[in-house]
């Protein structure tokens, strides 16, 4: 495990997206087209958005595009492809969090700037927000969603027995 507090938060984020992708892989692909009122769109589009956004945040932080560009309305990627990008970018941001200056300013777009720390906070928030939308879609369609909490992460990693 990492030595800095944020490491664990970022590792949970990576694990949760991977666990969600794995769970979705076990469902009838028709389920991926499900949506619910108030959510972002279908499960498939939301997942592409989660991974694509993380890829963009990572590019902002490092200048590197890791994997094929993922866009919510662009080329439709397989779950395996999305899992690879999510894992690679997730690993990369842990390294960024460990070594970068969180106050370093980064140019976003249209002349706007932010900091490494804010982008990392947004990355964590964004993953949790949109995974929740997918689990809500699953629940509203009668499918018990997988546990994606940090409690579940600790159990999956064999390093904590805490439960919900």
């Amino acid at each position: 495990m990492g030595e800095r507090p944020l490491d664990h938060v970022l590792r949970h984020n990576t694990w949760a997206t991977g666990a969600l992708i794995e769970f979705l892989g076990g469902l009838d692909p028709a389920t991926h087209e499900s949506a619910s009122p108030g959510t972002y769109g279908t499960i498939e589009r939301t997942l592409q958005h989660i991974v694509g956004a993380q890829q963009w945040y990572t590019q902002l932080l490092t200048g590197e595009l890791i994997g094929p560009r993922v866009r919510r309305h662009g080329t439709r990627h397989t779950l395996d492809e999305l899992a690879l990008v999510a894992e690679a970018t997730g690993t990369r941001v842990v390294a960024v969090a460990e070594s970068d200056d969180h106050a370093r300013r980064i140019e976003l777009n249209r002349g706007r700037t932010s900091t490494v720390g804010v982008i990392l906070a947004q990355l964590v928030h964004h993953g949790n927000e949109h995974r929740t939308q997918i689990t809500t879609i699953l629940g509203s369609n009668g499918i018990e969603p997988p546990p994606l909490s940090a409690w579940a992460y600790g159990r999956a990693a064999g390093i904590s027995e805490a439960e919900e």
């Binding site: 944020l6 949970h12 009122p37 108030g38 929740t132 509203s140 992460y153």
Partner: protein, 164 residues
Amino acid sequence: MSDLRIPIAYDNWATETLVDFCLGLTSQQLELTTPGTMGTVKATLVHLVAAKERYGAALRGSPPPAEAIRETTTTDLGPVKARSKALSCFFEEFARGTIDLDATVERRAADGAVQKMPMWVLLAQFLHHGDEHRAKLGLIFGANGIEPPHYSAFNWAQSLGTLA
């Protein structure tokens, strides 16, 4: 200073933003819900803050104060704003200090059961939990035609003037 200072400051702001927004809703709107979420706006908001009370108590090593928000006893949303603010102050102070990630903390779950765990699990879960339940509130608003407040980390940074 911990590198969790930024995500914790964001969590404080986002929860307080949602509390303020919910306190401006009508009693009928507070009873709205949507399939796949955990319940009504009111129940979700109380749970969001009550859980934060328990995370704070676990980090302090002492039970929540008498005035703490609780799912079992809080029926009036009036005190939620003040408690949310008080919790923000506690977590802000906590993040300023040195964090011993491997220190064992005891957490009392909603059902009263006591669990022991390393502090990093609790911190990762605390941040995940806030994101998840704020997302559920956003889902209920969206499903019921209520424009949710903007509460991403980028919105937070913008409110501080650090996202130009």
